[in-house]
Structures are given as C-alpha cells and as structure tokens.
Amino acid sequence: MAQSTVTDHAALRFGAPEFEDIQGIARFGYGNLTSACFYLLRIADLALAREWLRNAPVSNAVARNPPPETALQVAFSVDGLRALGMVPAVLEGFSAEFLSGMAGEEARSRRLGDIGTNSPGTWRWGAGSVPHLLVMTYATPARFELWKRELTGSLWDRAFSKLEELTTSDMGGREPFGFVDGISQPIFDWERRLELQNVEAEYRNLTMLGELLLGYPNEYGKYTDRPVLEPSADPDALLPPAEDRPNTRDLGRNGTYVVFRDLRQDVRCFWQFLAAEARAANRTPQALAEAMVGRTIEGDPLVPWGENDVLADELPDESRRNQFTFNRDTEGVHCPFGAHIRRANPRTADVPPGTDSALKRLVQTLGLAPQRARDDVIASARFHRILRRGREYGTALSSDDALQPGSEGEERGLRFLCLNANIARQFEFVQNAWIMSTKFGGLTEESDPLLGNREAIAGSRLSGAFSLCRGDGVRHRLRGLPQFVTVRGGGYFFLPGLRALKYLASRV
C-alpha cells in the first residue's frame, strides 16, 4: 500500500545531480579528513573579502578517487549577507528564522531551550558578537597546518577580523561521553527517484532532496521558499534558473542552512552521576548511559531489529544500525521513551503501525481507530530530519578517568553542525518539540537525558528526571539529573551553492 516507490523517470526528467555546484559537506562528512577547524569571521574590508571569496578553493560535492586531502566550505550569517551588500528585497527571500538568527528573539530562545545557563547572554559567540562568515576547513593531519596557512594568508588577514578559531579534535568517531556518534542520518535522494505518497505508511531514511537543499521538492513535494531573483538582478547570468519558476534566477539552489551550536559537555559530571545512580537502578553506569542514549556505547540500537523494518532499497548506503524503527518496542522496554535517539528521531510513519488496509486507513484518518495512549502522539518524523556534520573538540576523557575525583578542567564537547532546508520545521522542531520538551511522548518532568537544560516549567518543579521501564511495567525513574551539556555559542548560516557563492562574491 502507500509506500514510496523508487523509479527512474524522475531522474530522466531532471538530469543528473549538480554535484559540481553543491558544497561538499552536503554530501560528505569528510570523515577521512580528521583535522578540522571552524573560523568565525567578520568582514573588515568588503572589497578584499569579496576578492578572497572569489578565489577561495571551496570544495564541491563531486566524488573523487582518491578522496581529496583538504576541503574548504563557506557559509554566511544574515549579518554577513548584509555586510556583503545584499539589498533588503533579496534578503527577505530567506526564511524568517535565518533572518532573525538563533539568538535574535527571546521567544526563539525559549523554544530552543536556550534559557538559564544556556541563555544567549552567557554565550561566548553568536549573541553579542555575531560572525559574518563561517569558514570550515578540513584536511588530513599531515596537510592541515599547511592548508590553513594557504587559506589564511595576508589577503585573509586584511579582509577579515577573526572572532573565533574553533578547533576540533578526532575522537575516533565517538562523542566526548564515549558513544559512537553520527549513525542516524537521513539518506538523500540525489537521483530524485523517490515518488512521494500523500500518506507514507512506513518510516524511511530515504529523504527528498528538498529537505537538504533549497531549490528541490521537499517531503511535501513543494519547493521551500528561498530568494528567487528577477533576471535583471543577475545580469551576468551567474545563477541557475529556479526549477519551479523557470523565468527567474534561484539564489538558493544547491544551497542550504547550517545550524551551528557550540556545546560543552561535562564528561566528569556525566559519568559520576551515573556511577552514583547505578546501584539503585541495579545496572552498571555504562548500561544506564546506554539507556539514556538508546544505543550501546558501540552504537547498536537497543531495540530488537527485524528484516524489512525500513525500506530495503536503502540498504547499500547505510549500516544496519540505522535500519530500524521503534515499532517493535512500543512500550519502551528496550529503549526508553525518553532516550536521546528516540527523541532526536522517533522514526514514526505518517500513520501508526498496522494501518494497512484502505478501510483501516479511513477509520484512522477520521481519528476513530481504537489505539493505545501513545500510538499516535508522534507522527510523521519524515518532516523533521536533519543532516548532522558536527565535530568534537577538547581532549577525550575516558569514562574510567572521568570517575576519578577532580574538576572538569579543560573544556570538551561538540561543535554541533547540522544542515537543513527549513530551519523552523527541521532543526527548531526537533530541538523544541522532541529534545527539550518535558512532555515528549507523554513523559513528565523530563527533557533529553543528555541535552536537557533541566529548567522547570510552569506548574512543575523539576525537569531533571529520566524514566526507565523495567519490563514488568513499574518504571525506574532517575531524578535530579544535572545539566551535562551547556550551549556556549550558536548561529544560523546560509551555505550557498557554488554559483551562488560566485554571485555573492561579485555583487549583490
């Protein structure tokens, strides 16, 4: 029944993917380039900044063999676009969230959980000092220093003033708490063969390209709004035409938004809290941590998996560890309802499982199907996917070392980066309705066990709980979870396609 099919004629209609116009980070995580650094810059001299941008060797998304040893990506904040001279009429084409910025409104901070110790007033960057540019550099360790020197010569020094040089470190695919990270990702439909259904009865990782890149149909089959210009605004014809409006120029095409959150992780606090709670929970600290994450420390999901849980045609591209849903664990026995991976992606289809005949579907659509309390609380995960491209920073601290007495000392954490075409519907929704919500999935007084800010909500004293189901129905609830992760900075950036970058660097 209503399940996506994959066909070839769409690909014929639209031609091959434009990898040469897409910044590489949209397609590759540059996992082999284990050295990376993120520069936050302000434009000091407009003409020189344009010159640097025109000549910058920004990497595209064409696959190369052997893979390149260096990569460079460039993105702009709204202030950056203004500093480049973009006129308001063009700027207005960007989304409201991007224009306002991550820390631009108190209401947004409230929704994102950026209150209390996370509030923008305490940030190191992004609130008071807003960068114009985010420049991401990647290289193999051997090439890294030289690569940075090549990019940041005297032109760079005169063109920009540096707000931050955010270093990263290679923790071997693990985040600072020790878990293998980056497993759950959407798989993008580069060949544009996915045929959307109005109602998707199965969860799938395969995702419409328009959820990642502007200028392509999204999961609703529509083109997300973006700046689309009259041809007169692009006299040198640098920009491609908009697919949905052929007589215009698409400044957004092959571009996307980057959400950057600088997250400090208190690794000592994390493991010491778990060690203290382990006895009462009758589990090891590691098992407790695994329940909070929803995966083993090696990255295997805690839910039992079966064949055919997720569309089979995705198999070649992904590991089985991303190949599951929570339909086999509707009571949260294996993976707690509030576990991080269940919040970050509940893996629900548009209708609850078992809606498999036309009649059932009709009854279900009318809201008349008998169901259990939690069956239809969270639906349609496909509209809320993000592509994560974060990197760790600081020195790794093993769980054993973390249990030794001592203060945290050196800072460590995650430079969280994600890409999405609609910040409000993707990143902000996930952060607000799933991660930070103390009411997610019918839970009470608990937010994300890793990321939660533990701020109380109206009518309730605490939010620092985490419930584990013991299998017999009686929950075990950890209480008083400290705040393990603190936001240190953040911002929204526009990562243009390469033709759009040329356009931005030449004139606006």
Binding site: A96, G367, A373, A379, D472
Partner: protein, 433 residues
Amino acid sequence: MLPQSNLLIMARIARGREEHLRALLATMNQRPGFADPENPLLPFGRFGRLHVARFVILKDPTPDDLSVYGLPTRSFAPTLAFMADCDGSADELLAQLVALCEAGLRSIFSHCDGFSASNDLLDWMRQHRARPAAAYVNWVGRTVRQIREEAALYGAVSAYLDANGRALAVEAPQRIRRQLMDFVEAEKRAGRVVLNPSEPTPVGWRIRNLLNLIAIPLVLLMASPLLILYLPAFLWLLRRKETRDPEVLPRPQPAQRSVIAALEDNDVTNPYIVLGYLKPGWFRLSTVIFLLWIVDYGARHIYNRGHLGRVQTIHFARWVFLNDRRQMFFASNYDGSLDSYMDDFINKVAWGLNLLFSNGVGYPRTDWLLVGGASDEQKFKYYLFRHQLPVQVWYKAYPGLTSFDLMRNSRLREGIERSSMTDYEIREWLNLL
C-alpha cells in the same frame, strides 16, 4: 457527569478607546499575554469551575483582502471578546463573574460601545453574548476539580513509585496494583488525596443531548432528497470556484509574527486565534454553515473523548461568525509550540482544515474541498500567520498539564477504582505512569 459550557461576550470597542483598553488588559498579566490568576480586575483563579479564559481584541489584520474579489474594503471596528470555558452552566458563571468582579468588568467593558455606568452589568453582558457556530471540548465532563484531584493523585502515586519502585518491581502485576490501591486508600484517609465522585449529569443537558443526537441525523435524512438534488450543482459550483478563487499568501511580515511569538510558550499550552473574511457570496456561506453544523455534531457526539480527528493536543476550541457572518474566527487552546501545532494539523487533519478554512478568503487552493490546501505546508503556514491575532490576556486553570497528562491522570484513577484488571491491562496501565 457535569458537562462544560462556553461563554463568549463580544462588544465593539468605542472609538478612540482601543489603546487605553490594551494598556488596561496588560495590567492583568504576570508576563506579556499570560494572566496573573490573582489580578485585581478579574482574578480568574478564584473561579473553581473555570478551565480557560481570554480577553482578545478582534481586529482584522487583513482588512483589504476582499479587494481580490473587486469588493471594497469593509472596515469593521475592533471588537473586544471575552471567552471562557467552564464546568456546568455558563449562565451561572456569568452571574458569578458579575457578583465577584463587577468593578473590574465594568472598567474593562467601559471601553466598549453602548456601555455606561448606569447599565446593569449582567444585563449588558447577556445582551452581548454570542454563540459559536461549533465548539469542541477535549473531554466532555472532565471538570476542573477532577483535573486537580487527579493531578494530585498522580503526584502522590508518582512519588510512591519513585520511592518504592524497586520493591514493587519484583511483585506480580495484581499485587502491584493492590499495593498502589492500598497506598491511595491510605492517602485518602490521611486527606492528602481526595477523589470526589463525578457530579450527576443535569437532566436538561441529557435530554437536549439525546435530542440533538437523534434530531440531526433525522433532519439530514429528511433533507437528503434535496441534498442529493443539490449535489451536482454544488459540485459544479465548487469546482468553478476552487479553480478561480484567488490565493492571498504573501510572506508574512516577520514583525507581525514576532509580536505574537513574544506572547507564546509561557506554559505547555498556548492560546490561538485566527480571523478572516469568508469568501463572498451565498455558496461559501451556506457551505460553511452546513459543515460547522456537522462539526458541532461530531464534537458533541463523536470527538468528545480526547481527540478531534487525530489531533490530541486541543483542550478547547470554537468557531465563531462575526460581523454579519462576513468574517469568522477560530480560537483554540493547544499543547506545544505553534510550529508543532501547525505541523500536527497539516500532517494529521489537513482534510478537516480544508473543509472549513478553504471557505476563507485567500486560502491555498483546494480540490474537491478536501485535497490540497493545508498539505501545501508553507503556504498554509503563511495563511495562518497572516490571520493570527495576539491574545491580550490568557488564563488556564492547570498550568503545566497537557491534554495527554489529563488523560493519563484519569486513566490512573480509573485503574485504582476499577473492580478488576487483567495482568495485561495492569502492565499497560503501569507503563503510562
């Protein structure tokens, strides 16, 4: 069972008084838009039967929209609306409001046309009462008292589980339930938990409800020959209009959205209201009147136990005509933030939204009244943003509680009070706690 009623007072704001009224309403809040339950003008918290209430200034943000039909702009003077949802009779609530807060209400309504110190307040408010074309209640008959008692029960049981979960977990399901029942019994004896039985259902309501249940299908049945005769003409007209009605969907002004967003997310629940013109002509008006009549019937008899269609996050909602039925507003109280509310709407009940809202000027294009429309996510959100109004004062009797919480707490009580449960039922029950 004591069913809820709704109260709606609408009165035109006197010329030149709007700004002063806004300032006065702002004094009722503890945070912008969020009422202080003890504010001196109308201390909402003292009305034990009041679920939610709001003061909102109905001022059309899109007065020029009729110009797409070549019609002149009608400028309607802004209207002050007071809305409340309460247990039992709304007449009684009105009388209590006047008895307890006459001075405060007088100072508020003195900003309205035709109100003077010599007016009898109760009479005046009665004269300005309006009835919604359709109303929805999440759970018919769940009173504020019951909600508070059950929330306290959940708090007690939750703390008991936190303290004794480990010892309980080794027991068989029936024994676990027994122990929880004993605990609740002890708490009741100690006066820490109170679970009053539900109040008797008013006979008048029961009769009216039964009559409504039978009468509407009967009327439909009797009218069906006419309706069937009308159907081809209806469909022809509908398609003609659907293919020609203009969309009015400019990008909303960021400033307009910011002003409203600043009032939101003070609680897990938010107030919502959108207002706009109906498409001109008898066809759309008759369609929407008929559909709201059906919706009201559905809300009364079918969707009265925790969900409207598939949407479970609405506490109370109403659809109201105003300005000679040229305009309509929809007001609701929903859980979560606005984006998740809109996404829930779009992904779960786009068809239902289309049925009603597509009769409003500028709505994204629909096909056959059900298809399209809201499923054009971004256009639909623009449409809603454009028509949304700020709510000046909003009160909810049980902050921090979502409709899911209320349902869960009721189920907890049900499990305590039932004579018996199977092991499977107990496990499912425990899993909710």
